[in-house]
Amino acid sequence: MPRGQQSIGESAIDVEQLWRTYRTTTGTLRRHRLEIEAVRGISLQVEPGELFGLLGPNGAGKTTTIRVLCTLLLPTSGKVRVRGIDVVDHPGEVRRQIGYVFGGDRGLYDRLSAVDNLRYFADLYGLDPRQQRRRIEAVLELVGLKGRGRERVEGFSRGMRQRLHLARGLLHDPPVLFFDEPTIGVDPVGAREVRQVISDLAKSGKTILLTTHYMFEADSLCDRIAVIAKGKIVAEGTPQELKAGVRVGAVVEIEAYGVPELTVQRIRDLPEVDSVSTEVREQAQLLTVQAQEGSQLTGRLLQLLEGVRVERIAAREPTLEDAYVALVTGE
């Protein structure tokens, strides 16, 4: 069958036991080689038309995975196919079918206008020259940059650059789209718009794989999520499934001032407590204590915190965020 045509029942994205190791040298005087295993045996399948999220903290291996899928990186081992085409053997074919959108300030030609940036890539993607102008206008409008096409990119804000990245990925109307942290560094309003665009694209039948470290983003956008930490997938499923699978029974949030480390350790040592994470919020500390189902901890916690100024202590239902934290910290 002609390449590029998806056969029924075949996944749009198929990753089988992907391993990716980086070799770097460290030190200036005595250089020795380091092997960093960025991705350690990841397998996943994304069905056509699905919006799949790869969720994980920085350094988890998300960007590495997506770059392998975009043919920019070779796997150390494993089989990776997009629309049935192997990314290693036929990268050119894969490139025709995918769009790659990554975040950040760079990646665009500052000295050119938005339209010129798009024109260049329209040529690189082999778009029919007669269609280019209309197509460029259409994508600019879609991402909310209508009328700003003639401006030079060097004057663009971070959010506008992100939208231009988005426009570029959509130019050739690929059936599969990869978004690498699409809303990072974008203001909340702009981020919401970007998410809306992504959601609409998925509804129109595109297969989308996006990486993010924003829990709520994955929760609200994705059909399915894979949680990735330290190069491995630690959980996979729909957002509902993940929430249901949350092992965390109860969560107690404590806002206090100057909690000594010894006290935190004592809380951790309590038998019902699964984990304690601390966060500094301005001058106070926020302790999030995750404990087993049904444990009545509040009293004992207050006892341990005697002498410490406690602002607030409250028990609440676990959220996906808690599950996520538990998963990625490996507890």
């Binding site: 050119g92 490139r95 993607y125 109307d173």
Partner: protein, 273 residues
């Protein structure tokens, strides 16, 4: 958004489009001296004074003739664009981190790489023509070529071979920490070695051999022959030599580019400044 199916262009048509149109767009994006504030001082004023400087130097030492230095320097100044400009037009991708998105496209790599050379060659030619013009105006430069088309061809080929050399430097600049030092050294070394200011026979033998492999040497020699009224037949070997040198350097640049692309996929070293 409802969109009619986006049509793709056929292979050959797209190749030439990426080559010409794409080449021009990336030139505008990466070649630094386009604005008049840059262009005039760097590609017009500096070459003008350079020509004057060396013509007078020649008169001071009593070497060669006005024509010797005019032809040599007017052609040499095309390497401002060819060497520095071409290096910019490739290695500045690193600064903008645009190499990844470009390599994620299915575009033909030859068209992508070589197409950028064309506007650079044209810029180089502009500089050379300007050099000849001001020499005619200020220094009474009156060449008497029997074959003007051949002289023009020589100049074009030389501009091309300098650009080819620049392509090799540009590719190196995609990975090396500082390609500019190398580019600068090469540029100035060529002033000394390629017969621009110093007659080749003055140089030690080893350097003369080196000069054979550099752009400018053959092209300038041919141009001097032609400008002083010699037959095309006398100049052909040098014209051919310059062409070979240029093609060799451009190929080296392209192959290096491909090598870095493959290596980048293996090691993940893209866009790491």
């Amino acid at each position: 958004m409802s969109v009619a199916a986006v049509r793709r262009e056929g292979g050959a048509g797209n190749f030439w489009r990426v080559f010409f149109v794409g080449g021009l767009i990336s030139y505008r994006a990466l070649f630094y001296w386009i604005s008049p504030w840059q262009y005039i001082p760097t590609l017009l004023a500096a070459p003008l004074f350079q020509i004057l400087f060396f013509v007078y130097l020649g008169r001071s030492v009593g070497v060669g003739s006005t024509n010797f230095f005019v032809v040599g320097n007017s052609i040499q100044v095309c390497s401002m664009s060819g060497i520095y400009g071409m290096t910019m037009a490739i290695s500045n991708e690193r600064f903008f981190q645009t190499l990844s998105p470009i390599l994620a496209t299915p575009a033909n790599r030859i068209a992508l790489f070589l197409g950028r050379g064309l506007p650079v060659v044209v810029t180089g030619l502009q500089t050379t023509v300007f050099g000849f013009l001001v020499s005619a105006l200020l220094l009474d430069f009156r060449p008497a070529p029997r074959d003007l088309p051949a002289l023009a061809l020589t100049v074009v080929i030389t501009a091309g071979s300098c650009t080819g050399f620049g392509m090799a430097l540009g590719s190196i600049g995609l990975r090396a920490r500082d390609v500019w030092l190398t580019a600068n050294i090469a540029y100035f070394a060529m002033l000394l070695l390629c017969g621009v200011e110093v007659p080749l026979r003055q140089l030690p033998g080893a350097l003369q051999v080196l000069a054979d492999f550099l752009p400018l040497t053959h092209g300038i020699a041919a141009a001097r022959l032609l400008a002083s009224g010699h037959n095309v037949a006398a100049a052909w070997p040098d014209i051919g030599g310059e062409l070979v040198v240029g093609v060799a350097w451009a190929s080296a640049g392209f192959l290096l580019f491909r090598y870095f692309e493959r290596q980048g996929r293996r090691s993940g070293a893209f866009d790491r400044l």
